[in-house]
């Protein structure tokens, strides 16, 4: 088995079969314990499912309300294995009112499975979810045309729906890695090749998953946002996580936004000695030869970030209340935490239609995407999302809650 796990989100319109697919994947790969199968048989029977037929959706939908209403309300993380590696599966809800849960789930993924009901085709949340995938920079996407059994396994239906979804995704800069016809309920093309669709010669869902790649650490701009500073035996140790690139002992670095120079003296981890370098993802402590650091500063290996109090971005508004231009928010990017307002709303639109609702607007409505300019109370250190994702994305907070996510242009 490969070393690293892969985080995978399953998205799509409500009732297109996300939870059922996951249940089926678990079942077919032997990742459901007999006791779990028994429990699900019982809860399925309690709902009136005859003949011990399994409601695969119950594997993921564990809340009583979810089973009663037959919907997913909140994301659930679960785990399953193939011969290649371990997967963390994030099941995202398909209802519009749970969009913030869907976005939370998608933000943690490296790849996505987009489920589309082959009979019903592209629907409102399909479009909205495609848009979220595009904005969040998820480029590994497999489209799964589900419920093929209901179309009589029709190749013609498959071709029509496939053309439509490929068009929508390519408009958002995503080329789907695969488009797979399947039936999650019956198991066609999930773990095993379907006998009912001999006209299809592409991979099964499992084969598609195993072809995805996990994120790699690149030799690029190093970013170390300071998380906190501890006094360890009289020594000032700045702790944090390397967000991008590789941090090395002895290296000349710059402390932003002040742009002062220093050298890395030591990399510290408890009970480990003589660490020479730390790659992206490593939670470490460092000591420097310069001034003591504070939370929110960013240590970089060369100064090619934006140091600015004005940020242009695309944001998605996730809460049920409107935003009115000028209302104070908090901008949070890496460990930076700065008061701000949205000063300009260049345009806003409903991602389900992609048509601009209004230009030069004064409000942003729930579940809308907007291109904005954010005015900050002091300078922050950011990158464009295309260059370094970790310092190119941020959230906006109101009364302690995240109300929007954003991508820096």
């Amino acid at each position: 088995m490969e070393e690293r796990e892969l985080h995978l989100v399953i998205v799509g319109h409500v009732d297109h079969g996300k939870s059922t697919l996951i249940g089926r994947l678990f079942y077919d790969t032997g990742c459901l314990s007999p006791s779990k199968i028994e429990e699900i048989k019982e809860s399925s029977a309690a709902e009136g499912n005859e003949d011990g037929k399994i409601e695969f959706a119950h594997v993921m939908d564990c809340l009583k309300e979810e089973r009663d209403q037959g919907i997913t309300i909140d994301i659930a993380h679960t785990f399953f294995n193939t011969d290649r590696r371990r997967y963390v599966i994030i099941d995202a809800p398909g209802h519009r009112e749970f969009l913030k849960n869907m976005i939370s789930g998608t933000s943690q993924a490296e790849a996505a499975l987009m489920l589309v009901d082959a009979e019903r085709g592209v629907e409102e949340q399909t479009l909205r979810h495609c848009h979220v995938l595009g904005l969040l920079g998820i480029r590994q996407v497999a489209v799964l045309l589900n419920k093929m059994d209901l179309t009589g396994y029709s190749e013609e239906t498959f071709k029509t729906v496939k053309a439509k979804i490929v068009e929508v995704l390519s408009g958002l800069g995503i080329t789907p890695s695969f488009v797979i016809p399947l039936s999650a309920m019956e198991g066609d093309n999930v773990a095993t090749r379907s006998e009912n669709m001999k006209w299809y010669d592409g991979p099964t869902v499992l084969e598609a998953l195993d072809s995805f790649e996990s994120a790699k650490v690149l030799e690029r701009g190093m970013r170390f946002p300071v998380q906190d500073v501890y006094d360890i035996d009289g020594q000032s140790v700045a702790v944090g996580r390397v967000e991008a690139g590789i941090l090395r002992v002895g290296e000349e670095v710059f402390i932003l936004p002040d742009n002062t120079k220093a050298h890395i003296k030591e990399i510290k981890k408890y009970l480990e000695e003589d660490i020479k370098e730390a790659p992206a993802g490593d939670a470490i402590g460092i000591t420097l030869d310069g001034q003591p650091l504070t939370r929110g500063q960013i240590v970089v290996d060369r100064v090619d970030s934006k140091i600015t109090d004005t940020v242009k971005a695309n944001i998605f508004w996730m809460v049920d209340k409107d935003y009115t231009r000028g209302v104070p928010l908090t901008f949070k990017c890496a460990t930076q935490d700065v008061k701000c307002t949205i000063d300009k709303i260049f345009q806003r639109f409903d991602p389900a239609s992609i048509e601009v609702v209004e230009r030069d607007a004064s409000v942003i409505k729930p579940s809308e995407v907007a291109e904005v300019e954010i005015k900050l109370d002091k300078k922050v250190v950011v990158d464009s999302f295309d260059k370094i994702q970790e310092t190119g994305r941020f959230v906006l907070e109101h009364d302690g809650f995240t109300v929007a996510g954003g991508i820096i242009l």
Binding site: E3, D74, Y270, L271, G281, V395
Partner: protein, 267 residues
């Protein structure tokens, strides 16, 4: 970076984030394998000196071995240990033999925790729950707010993007922080092995049985097992066909007892 190091880094990041935001914070230590792993991760995050108290919620019904383990390692690690008990309920005779499991857990665990938090004024708690333990826990956020009644509003949880966790908000009594939410049971045992962590002897097989999950003695049943060391446990779990909490009585009372307990503030 290997899988275990990646999981460890994620946990340490979360622990440090919680401490950076909340100085009135404590770690909830049940003495089980998960919170003992969390305790070790805190040692690592703070270079060997945990700068906040460690709470043990004591129902009075824990295994004797758990009390011994607790006292031994509290001393060895130099912990600032707080033992929280719902004395009134214990004196009033509440116990596993009386009323439902839901009531007992609620009184002796949840309410004991409420009293402890109120007494010390904690604003944040670190808990060692994991997503793969139970379907309800799979829905948790890393930072999960609770109101003064400890209610978990699972129908409207905060958005959590890119490791940006919610800040303190109005009407919040405390926030539950879950640094090992992303680890599985198997990860925990592999990590225990790699770090050579001390773990309660109850987990290891004696006379063909061991505990896979520990809590109160009357409500924990052992599972048949010959696994008497960490390696054998890793082998056993990798091939397990039953769930981890199969021996826990409170899960079985009704399919949604965990959901009810947790919405009332249970861990």
């Amino acid at each position: 970076m290997d899988q275990l190091t990646m999981l460890e880094n994620k946990s340490i990041f979360i622990i440090r984030e919680a401490y950076a935001k909340y100085k009135d914070i404590a770690l909830l230590w049940s003495v089980g394998k998960d919170s003992t792993t969390l305790l070790w991760l805190c040692q690592k995050a703070f270079f060997g000196k945990i700068p906040f108290p460690v709470i043990h919620i004591d129902t009075g019904y824990k295994f004797p071995q758990m009390y011994e383990f607790r006292d031994h390692y509290a001393k060895e690690y130099g912990l600032n240990l707080i033992v929280g008990r719902n004395k009134e309920a214990i004196d009033g005779g509440m116990g596993p033999g009386k009323g439902s499991k839901l009531d007992c857990c609620n009184e002796l665990k949840t309410n004991a925790l409420k009293q402890t938090i109120a007494k010390y004024g904690f604003k944040a708690l670190l808990l060692g729950i994991r997503r793969d333990e139970h379907g309800i826990r799979a829905k948790e956020r890393v930072f999960s707010p609770r109101d003064e009644n400890f209610r978990w509003n699972y129908e409207d949880q905060p958005a959590e993007l890119w490791d940006q966790y919610k800040s303190e908000s109005e009407g919040e009594d405390h926030v539950r922080v879950h640094p090992i939410l992303h680890m599985t049971e198997l990860d925990i045992w592999k990590y225990v092995k790699r770090e050579n962590l001390p773990i309660s002897e109850l987990y290891f097989s004696k006379e063909g049985k061991r505990f896979r999950s520990i809590g109160c003695e009357p409500c924990c049943g052992p599972v048949p097992s010959t696994a008497s060391n960490v390696d054998e446990i890793i082998d056993e779990i990798a091939n397990a066909t039953t769930s981890e909490r199969a021996g826990r009585a409170q899960d079985k009372e009704d399919a949604y007892t965990m959901q009810k307990l947790r919405s009332l503030g249970y861990m």
